[in-house]
Amino acid sequence: MSKPLLEIKNLSIWFESFEGPLKVLDGVNMIVLPGEKVGLIGEMGCGKTTTMKAIAGILPVPPTIIRSGSILYQGEDLMKMNKKKSRQIRKKELSMIFQDPMSALNPVFTIGTQLHDIIKINEKKKGFIKGKSIQLLKEVLLPDPARILKNYPIQLSGGMRQRICIAMALINKGQILLADEPDTSLDVTIKEQIMKLLRELVGKYNKSIVLVSHALGTIKSLTDRVYVMYAGSMVEMASTQALFANPLHPYSKGLLEATPRLTGKGIGDGINGRIPEYVSPPNGCRFHPRCKEVMDVCRREKPSFFNVSKDHGVACFLFKNSRN
């Protein structure tokens, strides 16, 4: 196995609130290899976006409390080094695409100005910036780039705005692209176009991508490996193919069963209950109050990751004995 590009180890993050600390992330472990496409799935409020923001280092302190853990980029701990240095690394190596392109772009500046601001972080040469902006917009297949540079975000459609966000994410020649539900707010035909573009560009620049999405179909078509997250920790990790063919964790099973299929054989029952309150999350496995196959041990202890096969691990006591 090649050396991981990004590694998150036992990351726990709390948020201050009036009711007490919200214990959101509870020991997240995650690895991204160079050039790998990693998916991250789970319900709303599972901590997917918190994980992404922690990697990008954009969680506001306060209310964020980092309890423990480390984020290693090529072996260097981003959380331990001084702020200036970690900022340098993130600026050069990371870029992020947000869920809602309307709120990711500033409504009072033109697209040209906003691209200009980002490009000049790395390039100070005059005259270079405009050419670069136009080239970027061409790369994301936007028609008439010269006109678009003069437009405000409100004058563009949702799909066009998301293309601009992708263009912005391509400006630095970084290794990792964090895509936080880039497709959720788009229509199905536009979604397909955007995901196709993203796939091509990521392949072209050989970037690693961490893709968060609700649409399991999108995850399946774009990623190599998938993490399933529930209430602040990873509950299953598998190659995309293995996860969709043979989900092991009761939570992953529930999610897949609940997804409507084109075969029209009806929809599964879904998963009872909802994400726990983070002020006092359940003891033991955080999924146990909703789990159909709950055992006594689940209420007491948090399961560790059991490797079922080389590329398939699951945090569930049902698979304790299948360790190899």
Binding site: V188, P260, R261
Partner: protein, 320 residues
């Protein structure tokens, strides 16, 4: 078609909005009829006018043109001019339960309002009984009666909204993307509940969604809208197995699916191009011609007419 089997007929419906940029033709002449006890699915991208159809049927707008007939009675007017009986029979569930439930009212007040308006239950005690019954129906604990919407989760709010729609024992419920703001795990629960209510209370649904995979599982007829017009209507099975309109084919081929079995059901790969144009400047001729992979010269000049290919399968395209 046997007239007595039809619950709702929409005939030549048009709804234009006047804006500073020009006239927005949100709905531009559509026809369909919904049979008793069925789920009629209405699909389209955002901006295609599908929600406007629901709002017109419920009477939120004054129609520009056309007729809406419910059980043989003409109801093509605004809600304030409709009789209480009609209002009682047609209910709606909105997309976002966060904004469709009044945050300053408790669940009891929310659910009591339709009962008061329609004189269901003699006194407050009887009404509370009915409210508890409604909450039990949507599988919420009865102590939720005192909670406000802000104290409960998104899925639970949508259950309250569904309970409110059921409160008056309606025969037609308009479901305007009832699950698109929710997680799949909760969506599954709500959809299964809706299917159960349909059988139990003999309900008819007009189901609006952009999720075709979901439509495959709930609808008995599917209509697809593009820029205020219906492109194709067909019984669900026919719609998915034998899509005729190039737009339908494009939509179906762009659904991301999660199993090989489904992949085989998708029509031949059609690459999606372009976006839905602004409804202010609708292209001349067939409004879809800008994105159509099979466009012909005639499509630029003439808007195609509706054609029934076989019983129940209607398509509006020059190819047929």
């Amino acid at each position: 078609m046997e007239e007595n089997n039809v619950l709702l007929t929409v005939n030549g419906l048009k709804k234009y909005f006047l804006t500073h940029q020009g006239t927005v033709k949100a709905i531009d002449g559509i026809n369909f009829s919904v049979k008793k006890g069925e789920t009629f699915g209405l699909v389209g991208e955002s901006g295609s006018g599908k929600s406007t159809v629901a709002y017109s049927v419920i009477g939120m707008y004054r129609l520009t043109e056309g007729r809406i007939v419910f059980r043989g009675e003409d109801i093509s007017r605004e809600s304030k001019n409709r009789s209480l009986t009609i209002k009682k029979e047609i209910q709606i569930v909105f997309q976002d339960p966060g904004t469709s439930l009044n945050p300053s009212m408790s669940n009891r007040e929310i659910l009591e309002l339709p009962l008061k308006v329609h004189d269901i239950g003699k006194n407050s005690k009887e009404r509370v009984e009915r409210i508890k019954e409604l909450l039990e129906m949507v599988q919420l604990p009865t102590n939720y009666i005192h909670k406000t919407p802000s104290a409960i989760g998104g899925g639970e709010k949508q259950m309250v909204a569904i309970a409110r729609a059921l409160a008056t024992n309606p025969s037609l419920i308009l479901l305007d993307e009832p699950t698109s703001a929710l997680d799949v795990s909760i969506q599954a629960k709500i959809i299964n509940m809706l299917i159960q209510f349909q059988q139990e209370f003999n309900l008819t649904y007009l189901f609006i969604t952009h999720d075709l995979s979901l439509m495959r599982n709930v609808a008995s007829q599917v209509a697809i809208m593009y820029l205020g017009k219906i492109c194709e209507i067909a019984p669900t099975k026919d719609f998915f197995n034998n899509p005729l309109h190039p737009y339908t084919q494009m939509l179906l081929s762009s659904i991301p699916v999660i199993s090989e079995e489904e992949e085989e059901l998708k029509p031949k790969r059609i690459i999606s191009v372009g976006e839905i144009p602004s409804p202010v400047n609708v292209p001349a001729g067939c409004s879809f011609h800008l994105r159509c992979p099979r466009k012909m010269d005639i499509c630029l000049q003439q808007d195609p007419l509706i054609k029934e290919i076989k019983s129940g399968h209607i398509v509006r395209c020059h190819l047929y």
